[in-house]
Symmetry: C2
């Protein structure tokens, strides 16, 4: 274990269209911080990734608080408590929090943060602890509430998910399959398509880079799709809008196609189909569901324990790789939930 605190600090904002890289950050070392009363010192074990992290550091408008130049890059992680000056925490406790891209951080647990941001002690830690960043954490909750609450997926529904081989897509498709939906994934390579069909048991997959998505959706969804879980926006959303079943639900989870776009991205030109198919398109934000995370975690845990949920972890090892870990989301090189295991589980 290192006895210095390595940190990635924001050096400059990305240009529009620029892919995230180590060039945006400075990798520095500092002293391990000391907790005050009511605080804990946490050793980072694993860091997660999210396309939204690019908007933390870009100059564009976003719903997220920005990371300032010189600050440690923000990011969620799981860690282990090393030292505690908080009555409810003791060394060895596993914590999920906004740890940042660093080896150590001081955290100030609060009921508020636990209730609003799902930041705090992991009640029933499961190894590898990175699962609490993935299927047993907010990624799992995103798939669960997005698909079932916002998307109202029901057994027998045809569910289409874009970025199917990505972190959220791979979870959404497996939940849909587990509740008895027909699941079609859209992904960017034959290899990803094979993976979601062979390993994750999707019913079919479309390679949007080599196939005509519109024509293939027509073949695979002759009666239209009941739920479209959208992780990408852009042309694929437009194609999906042309194949909606009556009263279809479009879950707008993200739009990686616009996160690094230059200038305003075009809107979905086929949105008129919302009227023709009496359908809805709804955005959501998983932290609105924090009070129900116990429910999603229990359900995901049961599927995981029963061997019905591949956690789809795609792991880099080493804090020094963290910019590349995040960049893989934008390059499309990840398969499943992209993580960085910064230190071994204790």
């Amino acid at each position: 274990m290192v006895d210095i605190n390595r940190q990635w600090r924001l050096k400059r904002h990305p240009e529009p269209g620029e892919v995230v890289s180590a060039d945006l950050f400075a990798f520095e070392s500092g002293a391990i911080p000391k907790p005050d009363d009511g605080q804990v010192l946490v050793r980072t074990l694993a860091l997660g990734t999210s396309p939204a992290q690019r908007s933390y550091i870009s100059l564009g408008r976003s719903m997220h608080e920005k990371v300032k130049l010189g600050d440690v890059m923000r990011g969620r992680g799981v860690g282990v408590v090393i030292e505690s000056r908080h009555p409810d925490y003791k060394p060895g406790d596993i914590m999920s929090a906004s740890l940042g891209w660093q080896d150590y951080s001081v955290q100030t647990p609060s009921v508020h943060a636990q209730r609003i941001l799902n930041i705090g002690k992991v009640a029933q830690p499961v190894k590898p602890y990175s699962l609490h960043l993935g299927v047993l954490g907010s990624a799992g909750a995103t798939g669960y509430f997005g698909l079932l609450d916002v998307g109202e997926a029901k057994p027998g529904d045809t569910v289409v998910v874009s970025a199917a081989a990505g972190g959220i897509g791979s979870i959404v498709g497996q939940i849909a399959r587990n509740i008895g939906c027909r699941v079609i994934g859209i992904a960017g390579s034959d290899e990803k398509c094979r993976w979601v069909v062979d390993a994750l048991k999707f019913d079919a997959a479309i390679n949007y880079k080599t196939e005509n998505v519109d024509a293939r959706l027509g073949e695979l969804c002759p009666d239209g799709m009941n739920v479209y879980f959208d992780n990408v926006g852009g042309d694929i959303l437009d194609a999906a809008l042309d194949h909606l079943a009556l009263h279809a639900r479009i879950v707008v989870c993200g739009f990686i196609s616009v996160e690094q776009a230059v200038g305003p991205a075009p809107g979905p030109k086929n949105y008129g189909n919302l009227v023709r198919r009496r359908a809805r398109m709804e955005g959501f934000f998983v932290l609105d569901y924090v009070e129900r995370f116990d429910e999603s975690e229990a359900k995901m845990r049961a599927w995981y324990d029963a061997g019905k949920l591949d956690p789809c972890e795609d792991i880099d090892h080493g804090l020094e790789l963290m910019p590349e870990t995040l960049a893989s989301l934008f390059k499309g090189t990840n398969r499943g939930i992209k993580l960085n295991r910064v230190a071994p589980d204790p």
Copy 2:
């Protein structure tokens, strides 16, 4: 009363971008048809209008059945039964049906048509019978279910409605006001804006032709709008998307901006705000609510009887004017529900 049957028949399809006019139709005369067993002969009293009627006659894709060249133009109306060979109908009964642009038509009442299309006898006719095309008919139901069911408007909500001086907009705004919402209208002239504020008691109105809609929405909705009832699409929808309250609902009722557009219309480029505001955009079609029309009609009737609902009828007189009656929707010259009173109420 005429003893011939005047009819407007489709002569040619409108070009993309072409405004509806008499030039598209032939005004012909024929014999008054005879009902067979199970049918009734109906004298047209009033004909309604809808932007969707342009898509009946255009060559573009639409959810509506097309009118073929040479056929009588389709359109809903109210009429009086002149002769009946149906056991449940007698002369003098008032009927709401797809009468077409003609003086007389033969109708075949059916339980199916009544239940699915709201075509059949008006159970409790109110004079002027044209009300059953407006506030007491499907226009009223569109406002009622669109605002309350799809839009989930609640007392205290801020509701913004576009095409506020149009048929649906004027009804939606009044319903919103009656249930205790704050109502802001968007319309295309100072005169229309004055009308919705002075006569219909909207709280405010924005002239989109002379004012900056984005800036004015910011002033009038500092906390965002809870419901946006969209009758137009286009730039105004984009501006509205930038002023959503958390969990806002956008009711997509129509997009007159695209009905006669040349080529595919651009989509709402600000739809990303659906995620930022955890909002939804939902299309609807009023005939999905036919089984609940009794509920909307009773509620609208009670408001109307109490003097709380201006029926906002904008009436032309004479079948010969019908193409211009419809055209006024696209020219924006109507104020409220545009109708043509073809014959006096008996």
